[in-house]
């Protein structure tokens, strides 16, 4: 199998990458440079910046749960795509097996919902 249908994607990728790289490289060269201590501080509303951002730059554990659920559903979606493409070929059998699969993942989803894992405060 030849790579050529994918080559243009790489081309656009490379052009965009080169453009972005060029931009960030040239920005410090053409802009002015006026030293000011306050300019280099992290943004805060008028008060002295605390040495560390919130909680030492930590994330709440809540986001871990979201990311894990995202993986679960992402994998489900990835299974759904070839199934949808080949749906007409698979027939009723395909329908039943995917209902079972979605149902099973839905159990996990319902459990997380019921326990309050999807609530934000």
């Amino acid at each position: 199998m030849s790579l050529s249908p994918y080559l243009p994607i790489v081309g656009l990728f490379a052009l965009a990458f080169a453009f972005a790289l060029f931009s960030v490289a040239i920005a410090p060269l053409i802009g002015p440079r006026r030293y000011n201590k306050a300019k280099l501080e992290a943004y805060e509303c008028g008060i002295e910046p605390t040495p560390q951002p919130v909680g030492g730059g930590r994330f709440p554990i809540k986001f871990y749960l979201t990311a894990m659920l995202f993986i679960v559903f992402d994998i489900e979606i990835i299974f759904l795509y070839p199934w949808a493409v080949a749906y007409d070929a698979l027939g009723l059998f395909g329908f039943v097996e995917m209902v079972l699969f979605i149902g099973a993942v839905f159990i996990a989803y319902a459990y997380v919902w019921k326990r309050g894992g999807l609530d934000w405060d």
Binding site: L7, A16, A20, S23, K39, A42, T50, V54, Y87, V99
Partner: protein
């Protein structure tokens, strides 16, 4: 079909230029339209109708100081806008603009890359785009960007689920993941047997799979971090969100990436649901409409329509609260998509058999859609008459006749004036007028 090398380079550069130009145009367009919606003219000084405003802004940004604050993670800080921009541009490679045309005597299709997994390329690019935002927030070493990056990471991945699930029905209907074939599948109506008659179903998936379209539209607004889902850069809470610490061209790259992502997502929506480059109905009666360079115009106009909708949403809706936003993504869009997928596959499965079953299922499907529409139809609640205290329609407005607490000095004054007036300024308009 493989193009000759110079054609390939021409197309790559052409698409890049197209995206940059559309971005410049869209920024101007957005500011003008939002301006009109807010009863002000918008930018109208630079060039005709202010068209060159965004170009001027871009140039101005390039000559601004490039600040690298203390405490940033240098490499990641520089890398983040590069990732954002690259990911945003790459997605457009698989979007078809039009049919075969001839460029300098070479027959070629108006599409950069036709691959069997076309739509997945766009999804992969948008998945990589999340990195730009998260890393920008993290590497800034500052509170607001961190909060913005954290929020937007959760937001983008949540709405990626809705987006990914909503297009399953399209793949099912088109039986392919390739963008060109999805467009081709929407070219003509689908013949369908109903009550012994041949019915020509509409070919655009927006009509055929309307719930998918609805979920997809909501998801792409969340995915591109646009209002009303722009919590990643909520100005009133987070200053600028993930790009607070960015300046100069690095900031411009984030701006560019946001608008290019909007164009790519609009292009994907057009390809998946609006028949791609095919001419819309009244125009499609004209035989030449779907040949040559014309489809490029239809495609651009459709994309513009979507961009207008993005702007319209921004001009209309207030920003969501974060818990409402996650609620919508996880508790509404995800289950709705799953139920819809099972429903549409059940209908499709049953529709394969001839006879009554197809009829019944069609009726059932229509009832389901009607019920859904009835449920989603905006209700008009009676607006209580506005009184001075309750504000307009229950919305809080500043009190119009605030009872001012008596000023301690007023008692003395009143005593000296010997009963000219009570010590309150409110509700006494008539008296006060006399004084003036």
């Amino acid at each position: 079909m493989i193009d000759v090398w110079w054609l390939l380079i021409l197309k790559v550069v052409g698409i890049f230029a197209f995206l940059v130009l559309v971005t410049l145009f869209t920024i101007w367009f957005e500011r003008r339209v939002v301006g009109r919606m807010q009863h002000r003219p918008g930018p109208n000084r630079v060039g005709p109708f202010g068209l060159l405003q965004s170009l001027a802004d871009g140039l101005k940004l390039a000559f601004k100081e490039d600040i690298l604050p203390r405490g940033v993670d240098r490499w990641v800080f520089v890398l983040a806008p590069v990732i954002s921009t690259t990911a945003a541009f790459t997605g457009f490679a698989v979007i078809p603009f039009g049919p075969e045309v001839s460029i300098f005597g070479e027959q070629t299709s108006l599409q950069l890359a036709e691959v069997p997994v076309g739509v997945l390329v766009v999804l992969a690019a948008s998945a990589m785009g999340v990195y730009g935002v998260v890393l920008a927030g993290w590497s800034s070493g500052s509170t607001y960007p961190l909060l913005g990056g954290m929020r937007s990471a959760a937001q983008m991945i949540s709405y990626e689920i809705g987006m990914g699930l909503s297009i399953v029905a399209v793949f099912m209907a088109a039986s392919t993941l390739s963008t060109r074939e999805i467009v081709a599948a929407q070219a003509d109506g689908t013949p369908y047997q109903l009550l012994g008659m041949d019915v020509q179903l509409p070919s655009w998936y927006v009509l055929l799979l309307f719930p998918s379209f609805l979920i997809f539209m909501i998801s792409i607004v969340g995915e591109t971090n646009r209002a009303p889902f722009d919590l990643a850069e909520a100005e009133s809470e987070l200053v600028g969100g993930f790009h607070t610490e960015y300046s100069s061209l690095k900031f411009a790259l984030f701006f560019l990436a946001e608008y290019v992502a909007m164009v790519v997502m609009s292009g994907l929506a057009v390809t998946m649901f609006l028949g791609g480059w095919h001419a819309p109905w009244p125009l499609s009666l004209w035989g030449e409409a779907n040949t040559g360079w014309w489809p490029f115009l239809w495609f651009t106009l459709k994309v513009m329509g979507f961009l207008f909708m993005f702007v319209w949403l921004r001009g209309t809706l207030p920003r969501l609260r974060y818990d409402q936003f996650m609620h919508l993504g996880w508790k509404v869009l995800v289950p709705a998509s799953l139920v819809w997928i099972i429903a549409i596959s059940g209908i499709r499965s049953a529709a394969r058999d001839e006879g009554d079953r197809a009829l019944w299922l069609t009726v059932l499907g229509l009832v389901f859609i009607a019920a859904l529409l009835g449920y989603l139809w905006p209700r008009r609640r009676p607006v209580p008459p506005a009184t001075a205290d309750s504000g307009a329609g229950g919305f809080p407005v500043p009190p119009l006749d605030l009872v001012v607490p008596p000023n301690p000095r007023a008692k003395r004054l009143a005593a000296t004036r010997a009963g000219t007036g009570p010590a309150s300024g409110s509700g006494e308009g008539a008296d006060d007028e006399k004084e003036v």
